[in-house]
């Protein structure tokens, strides 16, 4: 490899000049929540279907494993992050929802959070059944009201999770509710398919106005319940 490094250092002046014109030098690191979500989405994807753009031929060989200490640290950080997002959602779920008024005496309510603002900037893949199958709550329902920082839905069908009479989505701030309303296009009286994980509504096309196509994907994701 000595040839290699000699060659790499062959003209440091030219290399530095090129480097100073690097368009990625001003690129900010990716939002960790976006990265975690993307990795999760990637791993939720089936491994036997070739991707749309895949050009290289598949050949299955057993890969060798080499686990450097750094990769462990980075992996641990990613796992913590994913766990952290989930726990954050759960805690918010427990502590911040006490203020939400119950819809009625014996009415059961599922309370969900709107995602953090950063989530709305994420670009997403098309939801697939295996990805939706990982959601903890999935239902079809109609928006009953949008008031203050709460969207209330009346579920018509629970694909997954314990059925309740109402589902309320709470935003930490009014601005975030606006973002959620725009992301899912929530409108009073309209029908939606909504899913959530870690107590947080999943956007990225997972939760969207009801359509035959998306309902098909939901049904496929939770065949036992349907």
């Amino acid at each position: 490899m000595s040839d290699d490094s000699d060659d790499w250092d062959a003209d440091p002046e030219l290399r530095d000049r090129l480097r100073s014109a690097d368009p990625a030098s001003s690129l900010h690191p990716a939002d960790p929540a976006w990265t975690a979500r993307l990795l999760e989405d990637t791993m939720s994807s089936p491994t036997d279907t070739p991707t749309e753009h895949e050009v290289l031929t598949e050949s299955r060989e057993t890969g060798t494993r080499r686990r450097g200490p750094l990769t462990w640290v980075v992996a641990a950080a990613a796992v913590l992050l994913i766990a952290g997002v989930g726990i954050f959602g759960l805690f918010n779920h427990d502590t911040q929802h006490d203020a939400v008024p119950a819809a009625g005496g014996s009415t059961t309510v599922t309370r969900l959070q709107a995602p953090a603002p950063a989530a709305y900037q994420a670009r997403c893949m098309v939801p697939t059944a295996p990805m939706i199958a990982q959601q903890e709550v999935a239902f079809a329902g109609t928006v009953e009201s949008i008031s203050g920082d709460v969207v209330t839905l009346r579920p018509t069908h629970f694909y997954h999770g314990s059925p309740t009479d109402r589902v309320q989505v709470q935003a930490p701030q009014a601005a975030d509710l606006q973002a959620l309303i725009q992301a899912v296009h929530f409108k009073q009286g309209e029908r939606y398919l909504v899913s959530a994980t870690g107590g947080e509504v999943t956007i990225c096309g997972f939760s969207a106005p009801w359509s035959q196509e998306l309902a098909g994907v939901y049904a496929q994701a939770f065949p036992a319940r349907h």
Binding site: D7, W8, A21, D22, A24, T42, T47, G63, V74
Partner: protein
């Protein structure tokens, strides 16, 4: 590899690929396309996890490169179609390809890079921006390390030559020319 082992392995490798791949794509295309190709690249890495070599990054660059080329082929198809429909020609800057803005702030360098063949400019980018050795470049481009070394050497010479031409207009070529040993 069972499902859990597969997940574990991907979770172990993927975090180290994320920032290098994002930079790789940011250098070569617009932000929206970069994001799309980035998720596509991760997906291919996930599906072809069994093939991932010990040094996964150059291989992953190769995947990103192929994914990007596919998208750009699609875009060119659309552009050809659009050109048939268009009544007026688009302004020249709108028709410039990806990487047209590179070398911002160093106009001479941008001009010199643009004068090279695309494959030569790409070798130089992989060398200076991704900081890859010829062996690693070879893994990205699926050529032999020897060929990568030779081509990189030539590309550097051509870039220096272009820079000399641009920075020293005719008549002054001898005054600051790079001395040969």
């Amino acid at each position: 590899m069972d499902a859990q082992t597969r997940r574990d392995r991907f979770e172990e490798i993927a975090p180290s690929l994320i920032e290098p791949l994002r930079r790789f794509l940011a250098r070569r295309t617009d932000p929206a396309t970069a994001d799309d190709v980035f998720s596509e690249t991760l997906l291919v890495c996930w599906r072809r996890l069994d093939e991932l070599p010990d040094e996964p990054l150059p291989w992953a660059y190769g995947v990103a490169r192929n994914c990007l080329a596919n998208v750009q082929r699609g875009v060119r198809r659309q552009e050809r179609l659009a050109a048939k429909i268009a009544v007026v020609d688009p302004p020249p800057q709108a028709a410039a390809g990806p990487g047209a803005g590179e070398g911002a702030g160093d106009g001479d360098l941008a001009e010199a890079l643009a004068a090279l063949r695309p494959e030569e400019a790409e070798l130089l980018r992989l060398w200076a921006w991704e900081q890859l050795s010829p062996t690693e470049i070879a893994a990205v481009l699926e050529i032999t390390p020897n060929a990568a070394g030779i081509r990189l050497h030539r590309a550097r010479e051509k870039l220096r030559e272009q820079l000399r031409k641009i920075e020293q207009p005719a008549g002054h070529e001898e005054s600051r020319g790079r001395r040969k040993p």
